[in-house]
Symmetry: C2
Subunit: 246 residues, 2 copies
């Protein structure tokens, strides 16, 4: 017998288990280090449980990268996250390059097409994953500009959207200052956030190949753990929060 | 006799006085509240001292506003600052609306015209005055984007540029969170900054007229004091720092 089914029947009481996890979230998130424990439990559950009651929802994550550079390491992080997102969940990568600078006078004429497209992509997503470089102790203006557009009423697509943050840099410190400013900015929307793992990729030029694909095993594991944590948090919240997209 | 000339002869020892001010800058900046004391001293000096030795340098300030809205209150603050800049000093207002989003691939082809124009305007300025709204606990993406372009080598026009910050909002809290994030961002460039006065304009819709001109007397005094403090700091530094623009 799968030891997981001894938890009062994992296939039946998965909701109860998740509610229990909610009560001890601080302890649970301590498990999302580099061992992939919950990732494994998640995959095992999908393989052994009956579809009717226990198939997890198919979750859509929108990846938002802060750098517009074609060979961006942070887009490489999002591609790695895409590869490491367990089926049936999916991760799409947004494109910020066509967004105009936010201007209330422009907004008053209606959202420009690139803005409307990004807002739709965010609206249909269940969760957001931000991958940011650090430009001058903060996130790029291009990323803040995207948030300036995404946050606007009516029906901001950021509402009730769980998110996670990671970042890569060729320098030291792993984008920690940018991530701190980003978390502070996103406090504006009262969003649930993955607190652990924190993923800071320093010296990125030694961890990606020339095509910008993430090779470093420890970094890949951290990305995998972060995606898993984001999926668990999202599903957990959707137990009590019917998704806004109905 | 003007009491100021009793300071060992203000007209002759102005440099010594400024050096003394440098040593006690924290104390001096305490004077820049709403009483306009140093503003008054500055104007009096110009009126009473001989031009050959004591005429202050003509300083150029570049005003950079964070909002692209035509009727922006923060542009209104910059226009007020322009009116309240004592001759012979001048304040020009930058336009950020034509800047593309920062992209290293674009930069590799050379600075686009709007970027080159802004960099030149900053390079010939002696000091910078940032007027920012608060968008989601930070500065607008458009303003961060301008900094992303201005900071780039070679010869970043931010080098050794004293600056000051102020901001207006229709909400409460006077843009304090945006100003804090901006100050943190600008730490990247090791720039001298005016610490006092801090100028936080809340409930802006009651303090500007319909054309976006600043009417509120206390706010105008605060803007005037801030400009005066920025000019004093700039001139003080130029005593020891020959300006980079030679």
């Amino acid at each position: 017998m799968d030891p997981l089914t001894q938890l009062g029947g994992w296939g039946i009481s998965r909701r109860a288990v998740l509610q229990g996890m909610a009560a001890t979230w601080a302890a649970v998130t301590g498990g999302f280090t580099l061992n992939g424990r919950y990732q494994t439990a998640w995959a095992r559950e999908q393989a052994t449980s009956s579809p009717s009651e226990t198939q997890p929802a198919t979750l859509r994550v929108l990846g938002i990268g802060g750098s517009l550079r074609a060979g961006s390491y942070n887009r490489g992080l999002l591609r790695a996250a895409q590869e490491l997102t367990p089926a049936p969940h999916t991760l799409e990568i947004a494109d910020l390059s066509a967004l105009p600078l936010y201007n209330p006078d422009v907004e008053a004429q209606g959202f420009p097409p690139a803005v409307a497209g990004l807002r739709t992509a965010a609206a249909i997503a269940d969760a957001l994953l931000f991958a940011t470089p650090e430009y001058y102790r903060s996130i790029p203006g291009a990323l803040k500009n995207a948030i300036d557009w995404l946050g606007r009423p009516p029906n901001s697509p950021l509402a009730r959207k769980p998110y996670a943050v990671l970042g890569a840099t060729t320098a030291d410190l792993g984008t920690v200052r940018a991530q701190l400013q980003l978390r502070e900015i996103l406090l504006s929307f009262d969003l649930p956030v993955v607190q652990r793992p924190e993923v800071f990729i320093s010296n990125a030029d030694g961890k990606f190949d020339e095509q910008g694909s993430l090779l470093d095993p420890a970094s890949r594991q951290a990305v995998q753990d972060l995606v898993a944590a984001l999926l668990v948090l999202t599903e957990q919240l959707q137990q009590s929060w019917p998704p806004a997209r109905a």
